[in-house]
Structures are given as C-alpha cells and as structure tokens.
C-alpha cells in the first residue's frame, strides 16, 4: 500500500511535542532551586498544579468531544507556569481550582490550543487572586539559608510569612527595603540568583534567563518579546519610579517580581503573542509599560501578570496591523 497525500512529502523534525517538552525542561531548573529557597512544599504545590492541569485537559477534551492531547506537554507547561506565579506558602488545594479555570474555561471553552485569547496560566492566577486574595497576597516565605528544605512543612507558615521586595518598596520605600534585604549590592546578587521572597518559580532571574536563552538558541522563541519587556520595565521605572523623574532604579525593577518569568516564558506563549517582529516589540513594550503603571499606581505591588493579560487581547489586532510583506500582491489585495 502506497501513501498518497498532497505535497510536501518530507517535513521538518520539529513538532509541537518537541517544543513543549523543551520548554518544560527549561522551566525545571528554577523549580529545583525553589526547593532550596522556599522548601520542599514548592515541589508539592507544583506537582499538584501540573497534575490538575493535565487532568483538567483530559476531562475538558473528553467533555467537549475533542481528541485528548495531554501528551503534547502544553498542559504541563500551564501547570508549571501557574505554580510558578503562586506564593510558596499557599494551601495545597489552591492550584487545583486554578487549573480548572486555566484549562477548562480559559483554554478549552475558547476553542482549545491555538484559539485561547488569554494566557491560561495567568487566567488561573488572576482567578485565584480574585477568589483567595489573602492567601495569594500574604503566603510569602523568607528564603531558607541553611538548606533546611523541610523547615516550612506542616504548621506555622502564618507565623513566618513575610513581604515581597516590591511590597516593601511600594509601601515603605527604599530605606526599608535595604534594612530588610541588605545593601544594594547584596540585593542585586541575591535577587539575581533567586534568594528573595516571591512566587515559587519567579525569583531566579539567572536560571530563567538561561532557560530563555536556550529557547532563543533553539529558535523556539525570538529575542524581541523578552528584550522589549525587560527594557520597557527598566525604562519606565527609571523615568517614573523615583521621587523625581529619571531617578528610578531600573535594575531593582527587573530583578523583582515576575519580570524574567513573564518576559521569557509567559509573554512568548505562541497562541497569545504576535508573530511578526514589529508587533512583538510593541507587545513587549506594552507589557513593560503596564507592569510599571500597575506597580507604581495600581493597587498591587506587582503587575506583570495583569500587564500580559491586558496585552493578550490586542494580539489579533497586532497580527492584523503587522503582516508579512507580500512578495507580489495582486491589485486590490
């Protein structure tokens, strides 16, 4: 029996599975590090998040009579990313609810992979923020310094909970920040490697940067969105983030909150980001500007999540405005 199909008869070795599982691999180092920063429960929360997302994907596809595609790794990525933007001290059942929102509502009810308007993991987080605001904004843990990874297991999390650098900065200023986290050079070093309070997978700019650079090297993502997000956060913070214009601290701004995680792994989601270089730059710059706006003027100390969610619905318009240049457009087209 000979196969007959339309050309081309050879295809590249790339596949959705290969892309997704490569992204998963790039996301694992920050998770491993988080165990040493916040303790073993980060692993448990992440495992629950991933398992719930995969289960939610299978159930959603079953309910909607679609082929089950949990092996493609995309639900695993959503599970990882959602856990990474959750504080490390939340109760274990929190990510389960987030998974249902992220996968069933934000992804499959909108048509499944390729058709969702918003980043599912971030919708999951936004839903949790709205529903469990206390847990989602207070379950911060001080970094462990002595590798006692079981330190926060069991009771007593409330007793040790702390505040994130952005919260301290927003409400008490730079003096309080330095009092709590050390001199600026100590802060830069600790924050770059990941030793600061924050969400599970967002703290290590270093490991997220390495993972992101690998994705760029593999040509799975391009530099445009990560660079424009980071540059834009730095620029707008420098301009508006200080007591006077042009006195903000751009380095502190990009090393705090979820800038690297958002820039390399969330804003670059294929489905919810534009494909053409100029559109990518505008998209990234918009995310950076909105992040700084929320951080400085909004109700929350951190704004990356909402900035990306606010830019997501502009993607169809950006795609329409920035199309590839046609080689030989016909008249009237």
């Amino acid at each position: 029996m000979l196969t007959v199909s339309v050309s081309p008869h050879i295809k590249s070795g790339e596949s959705v599975e290969k892309i997704m599982w490569t992204v998963v691999a790039c996301l694992l180092p920050p998770l491993i590090l988080s165990v040493f920063i916040f303790g073993i429960q980060t692993l448990i929360i992440t495992a629950i998040s991933v398992a719930s997302c995969v289960a939610a994907e299978a159930v959603s596809q079953k309910l909607l009579h679609r082929p089950i595609t949990i092996k493609d790794g995309s639900a695993v990525i959503t599970g990882l990313l959602m856990a990474y933007v959750i504080p490390p001290g939340v109760p274990c059942w929190i990510p389960i609810l987030g998974a249902v929102m992220a996968i069933y509502v934000a992804k499959h009810l909108l048509g499944g992979i390729g058709f969702n308007i918003f980043n599912p993991a971030l919708i999951g987080r936004a839903f949790l923020m709205a529903t469990f605001p206390v847990a989602m904004t207070s379950a911060w843990l001080p970094p462990i310094r002595d590798a006692a990874v079981f330190k926060y297991m069991g009771s007593g999390i409330d007793a040790v909970s702390t505040a994130t650098p952005l919260y301290v900065l927003k409400h008490y200023g730079v003096g309080a920040l330095m009092e709590k986290f050390g001199t600026m050079s100590v802060i830069y070093g600790d924050f770059f490697v990941g030793w600061r309070p924050g969400c599970i997978g967002e703290t290590s700019a270093l490991l997220l940067l390495l993972g992101g650079l690998f994705l760029i090297y593999k040509r799975y993502i391009t530099w445009h969105i990560p660079v424009s997000v980071i540059v834009s956060v730095a620029f707008f913070t420098w301009v508006f983030g200080g007591e006077r214009l042009f006195t903000g601290n751009p380095l502190l701004a990009i090393l705090s909150g979820g800038v690297f995680l958002g820039a390399f792994f969330m804003a670059t989601d294929y489905v919810t980001s534009p494909s053409q270089a100029p559109a990518k730059l505008i998209f990234g710059a918009g995310i950076g500007a909105l992040t700084v706006l929320i951080r400085l003027k909004g109700g929350y100390p951190e704004g990356v999540c909402y900035a990306i969610l606010l830019m997501n619905p502009l993607v169809p318009a950006l795609e329409g405005w920035f199309r590839p240049k046609r080689f030989a457009p016909q008249k009237g087209a």
Binding site: T3, V4, S7, H9, S12, I113, F115, S275, R326, A328
Partner: protein
C-alpha cells in the same frame, strides 16, 4: 565565499538535501523497455491528438501526438516499434489520461542524430526546430518553450537566466547534466540568446554543487565570445531557490509583480535541462523523447540517475534498479517538496518527470496533524509573504471562500509552510482547497 552567494530575502527553509544518494552517480541509459505508454497529456496546455493508429510502425523521434489548437507541444515516439493501441494510462496527476502504447522492436537500431551548424539560422527557423522537437519546460510545469521564447514585442527582455539551482532535495538530474555536458548547456544558452536577440545570460546554481559551478564556469569561459556574455551566479542553498520568482530576485534583484510573468521585469528563465533539450532540438534536430531522471530514496535498492525514454513505466525502472525495499511507504513523481505522490507503479514517465522517489516510512512524516498553535513559523517560511496559518484555519472553519485576503492565489505551493509546521498541518492541501473555492 559565503557572503558572496546570491539569495532571495524573505522566507525559505533548509530541508535535508539527501542528494548524496545519487549526486556522484553518472547518468546511465536505461535499457529500452519492452513497451512504452506515451501520455498525450504531459504538460501545461491542451492535450495532444494522436496522429498514429493501431498497428502503425513508428521510429523513435516520430510524432505520435500533435496539438491541433491552442497551447501545447508535439509528443514523439520514444522507441522504434509498433503501435499497440491508443487508450488510457495511469497519469501522475489526472489519474487516467489518453496515451499511445508502443511495443518496442528489439531488433531496431538506435536512431542517429547528426550535429549541424545552427548559426546561420533565422529566429523563426530556430523557434520552428524547438517547436517541432516538442520542447517544454522540463524542470517544472512543462510550459511550451517556443511560446515562452516568443515574448510580446513590447516586452523588453535583457537577461536570460538558466535555472540550475535544483533546490528540491534528492534531485540530481540538473547537477549531473551540468557536470557531464556543460558545453551543450552553454551552446543551448547561446541558441536562446540568439532567439531573444540579447547577450546576457546568468546561470544560477546552488552552492551545494561546487563541481557543477566549476564545470559551468569553465564552459562559460570558453564560450563567452561573439558578443555573448554567459556567466555563473552561485546561489545560497535555500529552498525554494529554484522557484522562478525567487531565482529572478536572487540574481537580478527584480520582483515579478502579482499575476505578472518574468518578461514583465525583462527576464526569461529556462531550466538547464530544458536548455540542453533546446541544444538537442536545434543542433541535432532531435526531438525530446528521453530525459535524465533521478531515481532515489531509501526505498529503492540502487538509487541512480537514469537516461529514460518518455513513456517508460515506473515499474520497469524499479525492477532495473533491483526493486523496491521493505519499508517503502510513498512513491513521488518529482521532488519531495512539490512532487506528486502516486498510488501505482504503472505510471509512465513524462517530459516533466525530474525524479522518482521511493520514500520509506522514516523519510516521510505521517504523524497526524493538530490544531494551529500560532507559532508563526509558516509566516517566516513563506517566500511570498502570505499567511498560511490563517488560510488553514479558515478552510477548517468552512470559510475557504474568504481566503483571497491572505493572498491564496499568489501561492505557488512550494510547501515551505507545511514543511516547517510543528503541528504537521497539511497547509498546501488547505491552500489548494482554498484556491478552488475562493473568489479572485
């Protein structure tokens, strides 16, 4: 060296070349088969009407089909023998098509074609010889060459481009032709230049054929006299470098407009194989009834470059080369990017068959396709700047009729989008469907 190579700026892909299977195999003539089926509908234009009937004796090179009206080209007997009948044959694209079946006379002597000097001939006489020999563009769709060489009088053609890019993986026919007969190709180029009344010819060759580039340069060096200016343009290895519009842009920087033709930007393109056939037609007065075909893939016992009589069945070629191998999954007439998959080996070779590929399961990718993930890779790969992803989504949603906004009619189906798609979406198939339903 690398930065001197010419190329087109937008799109393209780099599939594995797989040319090592045959690029070092010299062209060998296939023994004449016991019978040949000569399709009367081989290429662009009107099908031929048979001019022979059952039991007629024909010699190789005799006409068996003529075009009575419209665009087309004469078709010739490729063997000496007896017409067994005029009927239907399997066709690479049209499933079934009329054909002339000829039984070979095993005792017949090969016909000799003597070279004669063509230099004194007028433009009309040269075109007449090309027309009588049934020359068509044998590298592609088979457009009748005498028509292509007669641009409208207001077209200001200044450059002839010979297409030796051979950007399709596996195929090595043009490579071997340039290596084994560069002088004939250059002589053919001079014939075309004479017909067009111009001097400049550029021969585009991808840099993965350094030996062919050298051979053609040497031949050009010997020949660049009497006012002709024939030279080689080494090209970057990138599919679809050999596509007419991309090749013109790579070499001249000119852009053929939408629905335009190369002569609109002063260029005529001919494949190097066609140019060799033009040499045969004019200098030898030999009709086009045999051609070099790359038979390759990991599903055939012995890959080779064969000189094959038009009308030879694929099954005869396969058995000459030791038969097919286990794991054979697909047989393709042409290259792997734009060729046609066939369901049977009873298909005869036509003037436009440049390759026959016997592909195994490992070489093709039969994984099921998924939903578009909007990675945008097809937008980067499309050399025409189109939106294959949107066309595919629209077709799946039953809105094929609304796809002309995405440039569906500018698509020449090079297959870069479907090659690069990580979701394995059959984008060329979607686009063909869209072309049927969309309004121009």
């Amino acid at each position: 060296m690398n930065d001197l190579l010419l190329t087109f700026p937008k799109g393209g892909v780099h599939p594995p070349e797989s040319k090592d299977l045959t690029e070092h195999s010299a062209v060998e003539p296939l023994p004449i088969p016991a019978e040949v089926e000569i399709l009367l509908n081989q290429h662009f234009g009107a099908p031929c009407k048979p001019v022979v009937k059952k039991k007629d004796q024909v010699m190789e090179g005799d006409a068996v089909g003529e075009v009575d009206k419209g665009l087309g080209a004469t078709i010739h007997a490729s063997v000496t023998g007896t017409v067994k009948g005029v009927g239907l044959s399997a066709h690479p694209i049209a499933v079934k098509a009329p054909s002339v079946l000829i039984q070979t006379d095993p005792a017949a002597q090969p016909r000799e074609w003597q070279a004669s000097d063509w230099k004194g001939l007028s433009r009309e006489e040269l075109l007449g010889r090309i027309k009588n020999a049934g020359i068509v563009g044998i590298g592609g769709a088979g457009f009748p060459t005498h028509v292509k060489l007669s641009p409208p009088p207001d077209a200001k053609v200044d450059t002839l481009i010979l297409n030796g890019a051979e950007c399709e993986p596996y195929l090595t026919t043009d490579h071997r032709l340039m290596l084994e007969g560069p002088e004939k190709i250059v002589e053919g180029a001079k014939i075309i230049l004479t017909v067009l009344g111009i001097q400049d010819c550029r021969i585009g060759i991808e840099a993965n054929k350094p030996d062919a580039i050298e051979a053609m340069k040497t031949a050009c060096g010997k020949a660049s006299s009497n006012g002709f200016n024939v030279s080689v343009a080494p090209l970057k290895v990138k599919y679809p470098q050999g596509s007419e519009k991309q090749l013109i842009q790579s070499i001249t920087g000119r852009r053929v407009p939408g629905f335009g033709l190369p002569f609109d930007v002063g260029v005529i393109v001919q494949n190097v194989g066609t140019t060799k056939a033009i040499y045969d037609a004019v200098a030898l007065q030999k009709p086009l009834y045999e051609k070099v075909v790359t038979v390759s893939g990991r599903g055939i016992a012995r890959p080779a470059n064969l000189l094959v009589r038009i009308g030879t069945r694929v099954s005869d070629i396969a058995s000459y080369l030791g038969g097919t191998l286990p794991g054979l999954a697909k047989v393709v007439m042409g290259g792997p990017m734009m060729g046609f998959a066939v369901s049977t080996l009873d298909i005869p070779v036509t003037k436009t068959t440049s390759g026959i590929l016997f592909l195994t399961e490992d070489e093709i990718d039969a994984r099921p396709y998924g939903q578009c993930i909007r990675c945008g890779w097809c937008l980067d790969a499309c050399p025409m700047g189109l939106l294959p992803n949107e066309i595919g989504v629209y077709v799946e949603a039953g809105r094929a009729g609304d796809t002309s906004q995405f440039g569906v009619f500018e698509c020449f189906e090079c297959g870069c989008c479907a090659y690069t798609c990580p979701a394995k979406r059959p984008l060329v198939q979607f686009i063909r469907l869209a072309k049927m339903k969309a309004k121009k």
